[in-house]
């Protein structure tokens, strides 16, 4: 039993060993070949699982959105409508892919593929459990930033090749937003990298004996905002703002191509939540996760769905922002804030190491307390100042608005009296 429990504790390695033994002993492949095949199978499994989770997520989001909007949400197809997404997908799969006239065929076809690719590739680096991770690249953080930037290319291609002005316009907007939010996204990403001292995702998770959210809440907030913008969902869903430019760059897409774009988008939303959990919520860390790796994935998925819930929540309640507001918010507020935060916190951390006794950079929960406190203080200060500054801006803006309104009203009355 013990070994059964042990094998269950670390189910992933046991499966791995089983398979290798299978190939090597049974099929007589060379160990390298065997490991190659196992890696290949693992990758395939991961990709399909990402897309499958998607099905649940869509349903979950529509239900939550409905509940927030005080309606029931899909409940016809299957119990509580859980098969609604399957029905949608089936519909999309069967739809005919219409290629617009004058469209640039090759880029038209490639665009959806690249968008899905950019999302799925990110999962290669996400650590589900202490022993379960795609490839623990030592540049993990940088990898998924690079890959996510591929998304920009796909949008551009889609917008351009569909030979539609609205598509092109939407593409330009999307590219502008994504590129501009990439900067704060990376800067915020730097915080956990610096705190954990390494870009390897596994190390970052292991370093989070105290979740970085607690240590650097402002950084987490900036990362959260930037990631939502990266996805292009609700507060920033200017890309396919239905009311303005029909539905952005994938307007000309239909059928399976549209399904791929749609899937990529939703998957990206979920992926970002996963990143959030890995970077700021301590990934698979939980009581007993270290010992029993299989528990890791449970904690991980729990936290991810928690973050996802928040995302859907904000998506439901926040109105769409204007494109120039979005850009100016990024360049004029987020980027400077993150820079300042980053510099001050690193400075404080360095000073702390030098002057505060017993200031540990890594270690158990207790060891990290002084550092957490210090950084927490810095964050609160910077965050507070930023908040005050924004409030001031807001007040001034409101006063200007009212003045403009009063003037307008006076003129209006004058005009009426004049008539």
């Amino acid at each position: 039993m013990a070994d059964v429990l042990a094998s269950l504790a670390d189910i992933y390695t046991t499966i791995g060993n089983l398979l290798t033994r299978l190939f090597v002993d049974v099929l007589g492949a060379s160990p390298e070949l065997a490991s190659g095949i196992i890696k290949f199978l693992g990758a395939g499994l991961l990709a399909t699982s990402v897309l499958l989770i998607l099905v649940f997520n869509i349903w979950f989001e529509r239900k939550v959105m409905a509940r927030i909007q005080d309606r029931i949400g899909p409940n016809r197809v299957g119990p509580w409508g859980i098969f609604q997404t399957v029905a949608d997908l089936a519909k999309l799969f069967t739809k005919e892919i219409i290629i617009p006239d004058g469209a640039d065929l090759v880029p038209f076809m490639i665009a959806p593929v690249i968008s899905v690719m950019s999302v799925v590739l990110i999962w290669a680096v996400v650590p589900f459990a202490p022993t379960l991770i795609g490839t623990d690249l030592n540049i993990g953080a940088l990898y998924f930033v690079a890959v996510s930037s591929l998304g920009v290319v796909s949008i551009l291609l889609a917008g351009w090749s569909s030979n539609n002005k609205y598509a092109l316009l939407g593409a330009f907007r999307g590219v502008a937003m994504l590129v501009s939010y990439e900067v704060p996204f990376v800067l915020a990403l730097l915080v956990p990298v610096i705190l954990s001292g390494s870009m390897r995702m596994g190390d970052i998770v292991r370093a989070q004996s105290i979740p970085f959210l607690v240590v650097m809440p402002v950084a987490a907030l900036i990362f959260w905002i930037a990631s939502v913008a990266e996805v292009g969902r609700q507060p920033f869903d200017v890309i396919e703002g239905e009311s303005e430019i029909v539905s952005g760059y994938h307007i000309e897409y239909s059928g399976f191509a549209f399904a791929m774009f749609y899937a990529a988008e939703w998957a990206h939303g979920f992926t970002v939540c996963a990143l959030m959990t890995v970077l700021f919520l301590g990934g698979w860390r939980g009581p007993g996760a270290e010992q029993i790796p299989t528990l890791g994935i449970v904690y991980f998925l729990g936290k991810t769905f928690l973050v996802y819930f928040f995302q859907v929540w904000t998506r439901a309640i926040l109105p769409r922002m204007r494109i120039d507001h979005i850009l100016s918010f990024s360049w004029k507020f987020l980027v400077p804030l993150s820079l300042v935060l980053l510099v001050l916190s690193v400075l404080a951390d360095k000073l702390g190491q030098l002057y505060i006794p017993g200031y540990a950079v890594a270690g158990s929960f207790v060891d990290l307390l002084p550092r957490t406190a210090l950084l927490l203080v810095v964050n609160l200060i910077v965050g507070g100042l930023a908040a005050l500054w924004v409030a001031g801006l807001g007040r001034r803006e409101r006063r200007r608005q009212e003045a403009a309104l009063s003037v307008a009203s006076i003129e209006g009355r004058a005009a009426q009296q004049a008539r």
């Binding site: 930037s149 920009v152 290319v153 090749s161």
Partner: protein, 166 residues
């Protein structure tokens, strides 16, 4: 030169690179050229991975694919004249071709004559990225070039904004 996954990957990547390059150079439609460029860059990133320089691969993708390719594509879109695709090669293309071929011959000759059959002797030390990070900050290392590069980027950014400002 046994067939190993690595050589296969190398073949794929080199095909991507050379094919992409050829595409960039010869494609009539400029957008296609830009796409081929992206393809080439991706191939190069792959080569970097093969050369066990993952950081560079990531930076390559991030910087080139993410930014420069996008920038180029956008510029092409902005500057396209609606009167269609003009003939993409100028009068002196035979000369250019000749020069390219000559250069290839010379480089090829040098490479083959000097570097044939050289195989990596040492393994890549695992902490190269950390050491690289330290080197950027240490005086013995590359602090000065690093700062100069940052100033350069700043200047380029400001320059680009000023020049392209409407």
């Amino acid at each position: 030169m046994t067939i190993t996954p690595e050589t296969v990957a190398f073949a794929i990547m080199s095909v991507l690179v050379l094919g992409g390059g050829l595409g960039v150079v010869s494609s009539r439609n400029l957008i296609h050229a830009a796409l081929y460029l992206a393809l080439t860059l991706f191939g190069v990133a792959g080569l970097f991975v093969l050369l066990e320089a993952p950081f560079l691969a990531a930076v390559q993708v991030l910087v080139y694919l993410g930014a420069i390719a996008v920038l180029v594509t956008i510029t092409i879109m902005v500057t396209r004249r609606l009167m269609g695709i003009t003939e993409n090669v100028n009068r002196q293309w035979p000369v250019a071709a000749l020069i390219a071929v000559l250069a290839a011959a010379i480089l090829g000759f040098v490479v083959i004559s000097q570097f044939a059959g050289v195989y990596p002797t040492q393994a890549v030390p695992p902490d190269t990225i950390e050491r690289m990070g330290q080197s950027f900050a240490s005086h013995q290392g590359f602090l000065l070039p690093f700062e100069v590069a940052s100033v350069l980027l700043l200047a380029a950014m400001i320059g680009a904004i000023v020049v392209a400002r409407d």
